[in-house]
Structures are given as C-alpha cells and as structure tokens.
C-alpha cells in the first residue's frame, strides 16, 4: 500500500514542520488579527477572542497541509515565513497604534 518508504527522518521533518511551522503561522495570524481588529475599533478582548477562534482553525488546517503538501520545503517556507511576516506586520501596526493615541 505504501508507495514510498517512510524513513524516521522523513516523518520527523514532516512532524516538525506541522507543529512548529503551524505554531509560527498561527502566532502570526493571532498577533496580526488582534492588532488589525483592535485598530478597526473592536474591543481589545473581543479582538483577542476572535483571533484565537480563527487561529486554532488556521493551526488545524496548517497542520494538515504540512502533511498533505507535496513539497515539504515549500510548506515550511510558507508557514514559518508567513508567520514571521505577519508577526512583523503586527509589530508595525502596534507601533502605529501606540504612536497615534498616547
């Protein structure tokens, strides 16, 4: 049934990308979600809760994608890179909010 042999290394790298890549990506989604929703006028804790709801669904999808994707490197790049980009954007938006409304 198995058409390719699964080496422990292969499984470990898939799992690592799914867990850590998924986590990094979700962190980005939550951080950016909170800052964007807050700056759009949503109450702080509302922005937090809503971002978490979206975040956990995103994590679930990211986890599955990391295993389903054909190219593991590409999946890793999108998850970790995307997470880092979104976190950086969140930092920037936070800076704007703090700077604007002291």
């Amino acid at each position: 049934m198995t058409s390719i042999t699964l080496t422990p290394r292969h499984i470990a790298s898939r799992t690592a990308v799914a867990i850590f890549g998924g986590y990094a990506f979700t962190w980005g989604v939550v951080a950016l979600g909170i800052t964007l929703m807050y700056s759009a006028g949503l109450e702080f804790h509302d922005a937090e809760h809503l971002s978490y709801i979206i975040g956990f669904l995103v994590f679930l999808v990211a986890f599955l994608v990391a295993f389903a994707a054909q190219a593991l490197r590409k999946a890793a790049l999108v998850l970790v890179g995307g997470g880092a980009l979104m976190s950086a954007a969140a930092w920037w938006v936070q800076g704007l909010i703090i700077g604007a409304g002291a």
């Binding site: 058409s3 962190w27 951080a31 909170i34 807050y38 956990f56 994590f59 679930l60 599955l64 703090i98």
Partner: protein, 559 residues
C-alpha cells in the same frame, strides 16, 4: 507525504491518533467525571454533605477569615524562585480577596492574593486558599482533598503536571490532534451516513471494534469537535501568550484606557483606607439586578486593592440559570460603598465567547444536560478506546508472525489507560474511605496520600498490563483485559460499601432522602461494576472461542 491525499490523512489519523489517543483517553474520562466534580467532593469529604448555601455575610464571617489567611508552604515554594532573596514571613499587602460559590457546592472557596515585595516581576502575586463552611464559618482542614474539583478536574486539563505548564501543553496539543483526527476520520470515510447505522457485534472483534469506533465518533462528532475546540479556547492565553509577550505594549495601553473608562483604579493609591460594609454593597447589587428583572444570588465576590483608598468591591451574579459564564458585575468603592460602575451588557463577540466557553465549563443548572455531557464525554473515551483496540486487532496476528512486539506494546498501554485508569480512580476513592482521619506524624497529609495511592495503583495496573499482555505477542487476546475488568467490578462495589460503613450513608438512605450527590456517585460505581462484570464475561467467552475468523477485508482507507 504520500502521493494520495486520502492515504496521507489515514496515516495521520492512525499514528497521531495512537500517540495522543492515550492522553485523550485520560482527558475525556476525567472531563466526564468533572461534570460532577462537586458531587465527587461530597462523596470524598463526608463533613461537607449538606445543602448548598447562599453567600454568607462578608462583614461578620468572611472578613475576619480573610485577615487571617496566609500563603501555605506549597505556594511559598512555587513563588520563591520568582523573587530576589528570601520571601518575607508574612504578606500584608493584599491585592485581592475573592469568594466563589456554585449552586452545587455547599462549601465556599476563599482566595487571597498578595504583593510580593521583592519579586522580579512587579505583577507577581502569591496566593492563599481556604475553604469555609458558610453555615458556621469553620475552616475545612487543609489535609482534606476535594477529589473531584481539586484532583480529577485538574487532571482533565493539565494532567496535574504543573511544572512550566507542561501538562497544559500536552493536553492542548492532544486537543488539536483530536480535531485533526475528527477531520481526517471524516475524510477517510466517504460512507459516513451509512456507518452511522452500522454495528456488527457478532463479526470479528476487529470488525465490530471498527464499527463501534466509527459509530461513537460519528454520532457525537459535533460534540467532540466542539469540546476539543472550546477547550483550546479556554487556555488560549497559555498556548498563544501573544498579548503578554509581543503585544504587551498594546495590552498595557488597553488596561490603562479601560481603567480610565470604567473608573476602576488600575493601581493602588498607597493610602490606607478602611472597608465599608460589603454586605450593604451586596444588598444594593441584588436590588439592582432585581430592578433589571434578573434577580439572583451572588456567585462571586471580589475585593481589589484591599485596604487601599483605591480599593473596590465587585459583586457578580451567579450564572447558574444560563449557559454563559457569570457576569453583570457591579462595582463599589470599598471605602465608602459608593457605586463606581455597572458592567454594560456584553458585546456580540464577548457573548459568543462566553457562550462557547460557558458550554464547556457548564456552570448552569440543568441536570439532564449535565448527564448528556457525561455520555458525550464517555462516548469520546469509547471512540478512542475502540480505535486503540482496532489498531491492536488489526496487527497482532501479523506482528506475532513477524515476531515484533508493536501490537503488544500498544495493547499494554491501552489496558493501562482504559481499565488501569478506572482501577486507579476507584483505588483513590477506596483509599479516601480507609485512610485514618489524620495521618500519623511524619506521613504526608491525607490528601497527598490519596494522590500517591492513585498514581501508585495506576503504576501497578500498568505493570500488570505489561505482564498479562504477553499473549498478544502470540496473536491471542490478552488476559489483562479480563482481569482488570474483574478488578474494577470488585473495587466499584467495595467503594460504595465502604462509604456505607464509614459514613452510614447507604443507598437506601441517600435515595430516600434524595441526597443525589452521594447516591449518584454510589449508583454510578455500582453500574460500572455491573458493566465491568459483563465485559469480563464476554472477554472470557471470546478467549474460549477458537481463532476462526480470517482477516476480513477492510476499507482501503485504513493504514
């Protein structure tokens, strides 16, 4: 991972399901017990077998108790590494005093937090906890463990591994894997509707285990998904502490703005001030709820910045008549009793969040719904257990032929987490009835002994499981299952009998007087004993039957 998507999903379902299924089994089982955690408390602490009480007088009863409270040795040990130098002998600056009660709990939980003057992080607080009999003001001895709410419940969400929150992380990842298993399970099975009505108990063990796995998974699918998801939501701040790390500046800004808007001081003023009559504030809060057409009892009373001019008193309504958590807080200035603020109705998102987490935490008073929760939780446990059985049944003959021990290892672990967990739970309740009222000097406290005996008996059950699953390595049914079922049957009768002997509360009395917390626990254990007996007998019949069934063809989806 594999060229075929469905194949990849099946692989994920099998292997991550197996690895985390063992944890999820614990989470589902103790989650189910936690629905009746306060009732289990009553069973375990016979001195507290009386009816739930309203919040007692703060001025007369609670204030003197709060003034006497101090953190215990365990709290000091936990806080010590967070401070520079040794901790002070006494903590005098109370950040908060809180009292919490539920409609199912006759005892009142009090908690106080104090500033730690030499803490590395100025937000560090040290906590003191006590439990009070609200009728008399007597304190519950500290060696009494509330087995339901202080042990089974934390096992459910943190496995009681508190070091660096590692237990929360394991459970959180398992919850994510539960969601994964549900999604991949649905992807694997195209004929999901038909499977809803398929159960062939008389086919091979393997076949009927798969049917039962699908049935329990599909019937309660929304329930399982919902609980795993809302469980993640409840501890989201631990898993993704975004607003306490990267977004701390935003969070702090929000807190300052919020305290400006609400008029509730964020910090102490540094000026000492007395506390006015809190009972009068409680009466005023109740008058205001009644005026809004929602008269109710106090569920939670909280004093912030105790003894300071900026101190305030928050009175929250008990939320037992709704799914959402308690709310409608009314806040008063502690020194004068002047009204500071009435919480506005929650926003839409807050309402959704309260509904989601409220459904999981179930503070509401609805016995039928509570029992449905227990059944839903146990069906989740059944789904995971049958998944483990299927894994073993499918592989054991092949593994026996190849001489590998994979199926045996999994079977031993399955015995440990399925029947072994029940053995440990029952042993703990039996220990609770048999240990002396106060442990002799030099021994751990009574509550700690109960915990040690729980873990010890679980370990013993695990050793027995390993020893008595040797048959699996030869492709046969492990005798460990039947033997542990018999053990459960004996223990689950012994516990109610011991409850009768040591407290006099036998079933005839508790049922006749309608004292359901204890009657329910006893009846539940007796029903478990009957089920365990039945299972043991079935297993014996199976073991006696020759291995007639050939390996049946299964859906291609199963890896």
């Amino acid at each position: 991972m594999f060229p075929n998507f469905r194949h990849t999903m099946a692989w994920l379902h099998t292997w991550f399901g197996l690895a985390l299924g063992l944890v999820l089994m614990v989470v589902f089982f103790f989650g189910s017990l936690s629905v009746f955690d306060r009732e289990i408390d009553r069973w375990a602490i016979p001195d507290t077998r009386y009816e739930p009480q309203p919040m007692p007088s703060f001025d007369k009863m609670l204030a003197p108790i709060f003034k006497d409270m101090q953190p215990d040795a365990a709290a000091r040990a936990m806080t010590a590494p967070l401070a520079d130098g040794p901790l002070p002998d006494r903590f005098d600056t109370a950040r908060s005093w809180g009292a919490y009660t539920t409609h199912r709990d006759p005892v009142l939980a009090l908690f106080a937090s104090y500033e730690v003057p030499n803490a590395k992080d100025h937000e560090t607080a040290i906590w003191a906890l006590r439990t009070v009999d609200p009728r008399t003001g007597d304190l519950l001895p500290v060696d009494r463990l509330k087995i339901g709410s202080e042990f089974f419940y934390p096992l459910h969400y943190s496995l009681t591994l508190d070091w660096k929150n590692v237990g929360y992380w394991i459970v959180g990842f398992s919850a994510l894997m539960m969601l994964m298993a549900l999604v991949t399970g649905v992807i694997m099975h195209r004929k999901i509707f038909r499977e809803l009505f398929t159960f062939r108990p008389n086919k091979s063990t393997q076949r009927s285990m798969l049917d039962l796995h699908n049935l329990s998974g599909v019937v309660a699918l929304p329930f399982h998904f919902f609980f795993a998801f809302t469980g993640l939501m409840i501890f989201a701040y631990i898993y993704f502490p975004v607003t306490h790390t990267q977004l701390t500046p935003l969070h702090d800004r929000h807190e300052v703005l919020e305290s400006k808007e609400t008029g509730l001081p964020h910090d102490r003023a540094g000026v000492a001030a007395p506390i006015a009559s809190v009972d009068a504030m409680v009466a005023e809060a109740q008058r205001r709820w009644a005026a809004k057409g929602m008269a109710g009892d106090v569920g939670f009373l909280n004093l912030t910045h105790v003894g300071d001019a900026n101190g305030y008193v928050s009175v929250y309504r008990a939320g037992t008549d709704r799914v959402q958590l308690a709310g409608e807080g009314i806040h008063f200035k502690a020194s004068t009793g002047e009204l500071l603020r009435e919480d506005p109705p929650p926003t839409v998102v807050a309402r959704i969040n309260e509904f989601l987490t409220g459904l999981h935490l179930q503070h509401f008073k609805h016995w039928l719904l509570r029992w449905l929760y227990v059944l839903g939780g146990l069906s989740g446990a059944a789904c995971i257990a049958t998944g483990l059985f299927f894994f073993v049944e499918k592989r054991k003959r092949q593994h026996a032929k190849q001489g590998v021990s994979g199926a045996r290892v999994v079977d031993a672990l399955a015995v440990t987490v399925v029947t072994g967990m029940l053995v440990a739970t029952l042993c703990m309740l039996i220990a609770n009835r048999l240990l002396p009222d106060a442990m002799p000097a030099g021994w751990p406290l009574r509550g700690a002994m109960e915990k040690y005996l729980f873990w010890g008996s679980w370990l013993a059950a695990g050793a027995h499981a390993w020893w008595r699953t040797a048959a699996v390595a030869e492709g046969r049914l492990a005798p460990a299952w039947r033997e542990q079922c018999l053990a459960i049957a004996v223990l689950a009768v012994a516990a109610p009998v011991l409850n009768w002997i040591t407290t006099g509360d036998h079933l005839l009395r508790t049922v006749a007087t309608g004292y359901w917390p204890v009657a329910g626990a006893d009846l539940f254990m007796l029903a478990s004993a009957a089920l365990a007996m039945l299972a043991a007998r079935k297993l014996q019949q199976r073991a006696a039957r020759p291995l007639a069934v050939k390996n049946v063809t299964l859906e291609a989806g199963h890896a």
